[in-house]
Amino acid sequence: MDGMHDLGGRQGFGKVGFTPKASPFQAAWEKRTYALRTMAGQLGVYNIDEYRHAVERMDPRHSVSASYYERVLTAIATLLVEKGVTTRAELEELAGGGFALSHPGAGGRTNAPDRKSFQRGERVRVRNDFVPGHVRLPGYIRGKTGVVMVEGPLTPFPDAHAHGLEAVDEPTYDVQFRSEDLWPGGAESAVIHVAVFQSYLEAVA
């Protein structure tokens, strides 16, 4: 999904609001939400990919204006409603006010049937895929060529796992790109490493 969450390389932003040794939490409810997320995960109502996709499905206006932990809580609540644990009406009654949830999802796909193994040093191309559902492929590498550095651990294919489809474990590859190839003439010199699922890659002919 080409959502507003896919931020890598987007321009027009101001300075990072950095202060050295900043606290992870700006308020007590943020710290508690962080714990709630872990606990809710342990309850097994949804998996990590469903959770990430629920964050992505927030209305872009809401998402961009929300703090990180408002996004976290919105995703959890959305999944609890979608999984039938509660209803939006119940949440709003308990909260004593509105409770904006994420938009419904669409899509989902299973592992690429023609996925291949790659060796260290091999050049690979990221497939030019446009996927309506959850995908862990940042838009800035789509269609681009890089070099495989390491074959990483096996992980359930998120595009399927986020949508209740059969998700076969597959490796992710540590793929090295050059910023000059990702944004020709438009990036500072750097090497960019992205962990890329096998199903997203094809051999360079």
Binding site: F18, S23, L36, D59, V85, E188, A190
Partner: protein
């Protein structure tokens, strides 16, 4: 303005919304022996940049450990009793040198190696850092007070899968010979992300 399908009444406060979700999960959590308070306590004790700092101090003082750490991060941190959450399959430890500066981001959300780095600082989750650091890392690092020399290669690691990253910062020369626990005390969360250098005077 446009319709927002998902929104009618003004949102309740964050505290109220959080309380509502907690309430909904209360019985279910209790049945499994879980609680938000308990989880919070566990996190306070376990998700700590101090963990990463200990690992770094050992790597600085023990070349054999450093080798093991760079070869298999997950196995090496297990020597400290530090584990990874089940979904985090591996940790790559990224060695900063005069020739290479590593920096970590998660452009799609805000994934981090929390058992080594702790919960990430707020700026790491913000749009600005996620959008900019992959495309203009040098400018961003400069703005953050961590300029990188032009001859040093910048490597940006985007956490797009369930492999996690931790930067192994360079040891400040003035700390050579310090004991491990004193070394650990100067290693900051920011340096484990790759946006700060360290000094022996606690810069």
């Amino acid at each position: 303005m446009a319709s927002q399908d998902t929104q009618q009444a003004p949102n309740a406060s964050m505290e109220q919304r959080l309380a509502a979700v907690e309430r909904v999960l209360e019985v279910r959590a209790h049945d499994k022996g879980l609680s938000v308070d308990g989880t919070m306590e566990w996190q306070e004790e376990n998700l700590l940049a101090e963990n990463g700092a200990k690992v770094v101090a050992r790597a600085w003082t023990d070349p054999a450990f450093r080798q093991r750490l760079l070869a298999d991060g997950k196995a090496a941190i297990a020597e400290f009793g530090i584990g990874l959450p089940a979904i985090q399959r591996q940790v790559y430890v990224l060695e900063n040198t005069p020739a290479v500066h590593n920096v970590i981001v998660c452009t799609l959300c805000s994934c981090t190696a929390t058992t080594l780095i702790g919960p990430p600082p707020n700026w790491y989750e913000d749009l600005e850092y996620r959008a900019r650091v992959v495309r203009e890392a040098r400018t961003v690092l400069q703005e953050m007070g961590c300029p990188v020399a032009p001859e040093t290669e910048v490597r940006v690691w985007d956490t797009t899968a369930d492999t996690r990253f931790m930067v192994l910062p360079m040891q400040p020369p003035e700390t050579i010979g310090w004991p491990e626990d004193k070394l650990a005390s100067i290693v900051t969360r920011d340096s484990l992300i790759g946006v700060a250098r360290l000094s022996g005077t606690g810069g």
